[in-house]
């Protein structure tokens, strides 16, 4: 892919890679970097990042969330944009950091300013950068799950489909209940494992019913939940983050012996 990220007017993007991508699927991070560069951004990856704080926030532990949120704000304030390959984490920063600091005028102001320049990756590529992938091919059928936070907090729906429509050979099939939660819900899926199991079981059935080769989405938590259930059920559906397909970095699906970050197991 051509790199246009070094032009003088390129926006400086700080990539908030998210804790799950960092720990569980670095390939999504590398794909995000490649896509942002192709879209003409100067990408930087601050090492002083961990998580957006959702596990604590959604457990009601606001005081434990605040130091994490302050760190994200301080780290990403200098950039023109904060971009995250997740609607859930971007939604946390955009919609919930201002709630978290509602009673703290100084941090509220800083949270609001960061919120205003925070974007989910796929919608950033389309809405802010007007980007379409060039010369990317993927000969497969795919179906798409709209993760809830991206869909309802950020309005991410048309953007990933617009991007995927530029991938040569990719056939997108409708998914029954594509806007219905997969049952991940962050800590919900381990706190109420059996309810989560019932929900993701239904989701897996709907995915299998499409007959699609691939299941795509924009949030690794939901994708790991669905991929893990599909694997447990013995389904053959391969699961990817949309960024991996768009960047042409889709050799190994979630749960396939991965290349890892350093490519140690590449075959």
């Amino acid at each position: 892919m051509p790199e246009r990220g070094n032009a003088p007017n390129s926006p400086r993007v700080g990539l908030f890679v998210t804790c799950l991508v960092d720990s569980m699927r670095p390939n999504v991070g590398f794909a995000a970097v490649a896509l942002l560069k192709s879209a003409g951004c100067k990408v930087e990856i601050p090492l002083a990042q961990t998580c957006c704080g959702q596990p604590a926030f959604n457990s009601g532990a606001d005081e434990a969330t605040k130091p994490i949120a302050r760190q994200v704000i301080e780290t990403f304030e200098p950039f023109d944009y904060l971009v995250a390959p997740s609607g859930s984490c971007a939604g946390m920063i955009k919609a919930h950091y201002p709630e978290l600091f509602a009673d703290d005028p100084i941090w509220l102001d800083r949270a609001k300013r960061l919120a205003a320049k925070t974007h989910e990756l796929l919608s950033f590529l389309v809405d802010v950068r007007g980007f379409r992938p060039q010369n990317v091919a993927c000969k497969a059928s795919a179906t798409y799950h709209d993760s809830c936070s991206g869909l309802r907090e950020l309005g991410v729906k048309a953007q990933p489909r617009a991007l995927l429509s530029s991938v040569k050979g990719l056939e997108l099939r409708p998914l029954e209940g594509d806007e219905t939660c997969c049952g991940f819900g962050g800590t919900f899926c381990v706190k109420y494992s059996d309810i989560s199991n019932a929900i993701v079981g239904e989701k897996a059935q709907n995915v299998v019913a499409t007959g699609a080769d691939l299941l795509l989405g924009g949030d690794l938590g939901c994708l790991m939940n669905m991929a893990g259930k599909l694997s447990r059920e013995g389904a053959k559906t391969r699961v990817f983050h949309t960024a991996e397909i768009l960047a042409g970095m889709s050799a190994y699906a979630i749960g396939e012996e991965s290349t890892g970050a350093a490519g140690k197991e590449a075959k």
Binding site: T50, C148, R152, K229, A261
Partner: protein, 467 residues
């Protein structure tokens, strides 16, 4: 009738183990979702109407005392008697006393969730008064000795096949066949005598109209009219949040309520009941009592005023993945689903009910389909915050979250811990998946976990320099 018992987890286990429940819930809620979607699709002004509906409710909530007093004046002028109840005990006592004063032996009741909220069925039984539920689904529930599991379809947890068995067992005139027409016919005959023999009829109210002092009921079966008209006494039990400024407001809200509940433009019956029978009226009750119930609502005016917008349409239940998986009884309160998970802690106390706001994925679909845009996920998270502060959350969870948050706020330490954890996790993998992992059984009980990479993304970046 027996209310759901046991812990939340026990009720969930029971629900998830009942395959018939899933079939019944999917029939009812699936149908409701499809019909609502079609109704919204067919209404170009839906978004504007929804915003207007929220504003109508907010107006009456902001001026609740003013409109309640106006309602009372107009209701008294129409000949009604108005009673105020602070809590369920007061409300039930008022109703029972009215029944006793009327020497009532049999009362008919048309479906009212407020009645369930205040425990009216128990109170009537305790007073030795025979209660006949006249809503078809409530009739089913009464035969089965259960409580409602859905606020619009109380018998949503029962399949038609189930109901046929109940009717065969209990009805004096059994259904001639197990199709809908025969079964409804059998119920109609079963209830018919009681409609006309009842001494008192008890209904709820969908709206209290301040401008006229009338109460409005919205039903499909006509049972509310047969419950409220023939008996000598009509008692209305209603939460004070049902107040609206005017009949016009009530009608505007009805458009949203009915479409959100059933997908129809209107229900079969939209009735305004105003005062007792007047000279020259052909029918109607001699006495018309309205019992206005607070039960925590005045506190909600400051704590969570948006929740007082709720029209009790049930759309949030029908679209909730958790409700669809476990059904209404698992929630343990009068109101299930997202709105119930917000309300039940108000009525029953947060310490006893902390599971309800936690057992939610915060996916936001409930708010999306709410006809008055109640920020349900925000309110559920608010309960979690209060539960955390009050120390109701389990010790192990609190310790785990605090430990994790300590590391998450310290990137260097976090990355050191991660460098130990990721290779350790890899030892449990077979192929690309981990099917069982110590301390992560909550995940692996239901699904496989992908094998993590040997090193994290940020470690790779640090080693390779910034891109």
């Amino acid at each position: 009738m027996s209310a759901p018992s046991g812990t939340f987890q026990e009720r969930v286990d029971k629900a998830l183990g009942n395959a018939q429940l899933k079939v019944a819930l999917e029939r009812t809620t699936g149908n409701a979702r499809r019909k609502r979607a079609a109704a919204v699709e067919a209404w170009p002004d839906f978004v504007a109407a929804r915003a207007a509906a929220a504003a109508i409710k907010d107006h009456s909530i902001a001026h609740m005392a003013y409109y309640l007093e106006m309602f009372e004046r107009n209701a008294l002028a129409s000949g009604a008697q108005v009673h105020w109840a602070r809590d369920p005990d007061e409300a039930c006592k008022i109703v029972v006393d009215i029944c006793k004063a009327a020497n009532a032996r049999t009362v008919t009741r048309s479906k009212s969730m407020l009645g369930e909220e205040i425990g009216l069925p128990h109170a009537l039984a305790g007073a030795g008064i025979r209660r006949v539920e006249t809503d078809l689904a409530e009739h089913i529930i009464q035969l089965a000795g259960e409580t409602p599991s859905h606020i619009i379809w109380p018998a949503a947890h029962r399949t038609r096949e189930d109901v046929a068995k109940l009717f065969d067992e209990h009805h004096r005139e059994k259904p001639t066949a197990h199709d809908v027409v025969s079964m409804v016919g059998s119920a109609r005959k079963e209830l018919r005598e009681d409609f006309f023999a009842a001494d008192v009829g008890i209904s709820g109210a969908n709206f209290l109209c301040a401008d006229t002092g009338a109460i409005c009921t919205i039903t499909n079966e006509g049972n509310a009219e047969l419950t409220t008209t023939p008996p000598r006494v009509h008692i209305v039990t209603a939460g004070i949040e049902k107040i609206v400024a005017s009949t016009e407001h009530a009608l505007q809200l009805t458009r949203l309520l009915v479409r959100s509940a059933t997908g129809a433009d209107l229900t079969q019956y939209t009735t305004f009941h105003c005062g007792p029978k007047r000279p020259g009226d052909l029918d109607g009750p001699d006495q018309f009592h309205i019992v206005l119930v607070d039960h925590g609502r005045t506190e909600m005016l400051t704590e969570m005023p948006e929740m007082l917008r709720c029209l009790r349409c049930g759309a949030c239940l029908n679209h909730c993945v958790v409700y669809r998986a476990i059904g209404g009884h698992a929630y343990g309160g009068a109101y299930p689903g997202p709105m119930g998970s917000v309300l039940t802690p108000v009525f029953d106390g947060l310490e006893q009910t902390r599971d309800l706001p936690n057992a939610c994925t915060l996916n936001g679909q409930c708010r999306q389909v709410c006809p008055v845009d109640i920020p349900l996920p925000t309110m559920l998270r608010h309960w979690r915050e209060q539960s955390w502060r009050a120390g109701y959350e389990p010790k192990t969870l609190r310790a785990a979250i605090r430990l994790w948050a300590f590391f998450a706020a310290r990137p260097r330490l976090y990355q050191l811990a991660q460098a130990v954890a990721l290779p350790a996790m890899r030892l449990f993998a077979k192929g690309g998946w981990i099917s069982s992992l110590p301390l992560a059984s909550g995940w692996t009980a239901a699904r496989d976990l992908p094998k993590p990479p040997g090193e994290s993304f940020l470690t790779s970046i640090r080693k390779g320099g910034t891109p």
